[in-house]
Amino acid sequence: MEATLLKGIFGSRKAVSALSLLAFLSLWEVGSKTGILSPVFLPAPSGVILVLLDMISSGELWPHLFLSLKRIFWGMLIGVGLGWIVGMATGLSPVIGAVLNPILACLYPIPKVAILPLLILYLGIGEASKVGVISIGVFFPVFINTRSGVKGVDSIWILAARSLGASTMSIWFKVVLPASLSYFLSGVRLGSGIALLLLVTSEMIGANSGIGYLILSSADLMLTDRLLAGILITSLLGLLFSYTLDLLEKRLPFN
């Protein structure tokens, strides 16, 4: 009886994953409650959740979350859009590639956070510099992935399309675009991680709103439970992006 029960539980990988997460949280909870882990530095997960629920019900969380989502939305939109356009252009046209590739190759290795003070100088401390740094961070992985996707398009497809009378525009949009879409999406996936990182960083430098600000201001006041609640939100945001991209990828005609 017991053996079959164990087998039933461990036979399903999803159940094992859920149990593993549950065990980790329980250990943490017990550790905090018994005082093995200092509640000041590492409050119990139940405490973190309670603080989060409190922030939700009091309405304190929403302006921060809303502003963060707005920044990341515009940053992703601009970064992904530009990355895709420049990636397609440099991949399709050797001339455009020759013009832009060396410049972009020089800019690529710069840690994007290093550009933030410059952007603040140019665009002010408001929304524009935050959206700007996220855009730049997202731009590079999308651009690089799209370019290699475009360059890797099997030439037999292009020959086939041409032999069926396709115009250059048709080849771009009906062959190269769908053929490079999975590369593009993995660029977006990489970019979404970078976007989250830059969002939080930029909100820690001269901001009075957003999840990053919430985390930093909680740390200043030694409110570790609030701080961890902020981190939990970033984790949930990351999961949400990755889940959305999974859905998109599954809907791709390739799969």
Binding site: I156, L159, A160, S163, G165, V175, P178
Partner: protein, 247 residues
């Protein structure tokens, strides 16, 4: 319309030296005729096809289509040796790709697409994607896609090279029937001598590089042909003649 190739020469630059691939090829493919080109590997068959399809230019000579015809119809379309189906499109959408380029309305495109799917005995597989189809079925979709634009000349580059013997045999039989019924002009490149003899009105034998025409063999047997022809002594006679030319 008939295809006329006159004095076609083509060379490539390789490490600064010129390598001649095709040397003075001249031949015709008349309306409704099935012409095969056979020759040793590297005799420039694929290059010849690309020149004919206008995918590559020639150094010297002329490729032209002569006669009166509807200028809306494409001159030529190709069935490639490798798999050139678009994996992100369903079987039906692959077939209608060329029709989209001809700006045929959607409903009409789908009607034509279905007709060609049925013709290639793939009725019911409209929504299947290439990776869900077997090798033989994929090549059938590729043939349907090239034929759906109703080209004056259908060019086929070893379309059965990657198929097993049984699948290839079935496809040969169906192709024979469909091509003969439609009166489609075909230029067919192959390594497979029995296939060339079975399908063609004429077989053009090329020499080794640079490719020149060694001889042209007319297969005197009316189409459509059936298995009986393949088992006849006449068929074996043609095989013997071609093998001698190629050895």
């Amino acid at each position: 319309m008939k295809l006329v190739v006159e004095g076609l020469c083509k060379s490539y630059q390789r490490d600064g030296t010129k390598v001649l691939v095709l040397e003075g090829l001249s031949f015709e493919v008349n309306q409704g005729e099935f012409v095969s080109i056979v020759g040793p590997s590297g005799c420039g068959k694929s290059t010849l096809l690309k020149c004919i399809a206008g995918l590559e230019g020639s150094d010297e000579g002329l490729v032209s289509y002569q006669g009166n015809g509807d200028s809306q119809r494409p001159l030529c379309s190709i069935v490639f040796q490798e798999l050139a189906l678009f994996p992100w499109r369903s079987a039906l959408k692959n077939i209608t790709f060329g029709l989209e380029e001809l700006r045929i309305p959607k409903r009409e495109r789908e009607r034509i697409g279905r007709k060609y799917l049925e013709m290639m005995r793939l009725g019911g597989f409209e929504s299947f994607r290439p990776k869900e189809l077997s090798g033989g079925m994929k090549q059938r979709v590729a043939i349907a896609r090239a034929m759906a634009v109703e080209p004056y000349l259908l060019v086929m580059d070893e379309p059965m090279a990657s198929l097993d013997a049984i699948t290839a045999q079935r496809l040969q039989m169906d192709l024979m029937e469909i091509i003969s019924q439609k009166g489609q002009s075909v230029l067919y490149v192959t390594h497979n001598i029995p296939e060339a003899v079975f399908l063609s009105d004429r077989v053009i034998v090329l020499t080794e590089r640079p490719g020149r025409i060694k001889e042209e063999v007319r297969i005197e047997e009316s189409r459509p042909r059936d298995l009986a022809f393949k088992l006849s002594s006449k068929f074996v006679g043609y095989l013997e003649r071609l093998w001698k030319l190629l050895s």
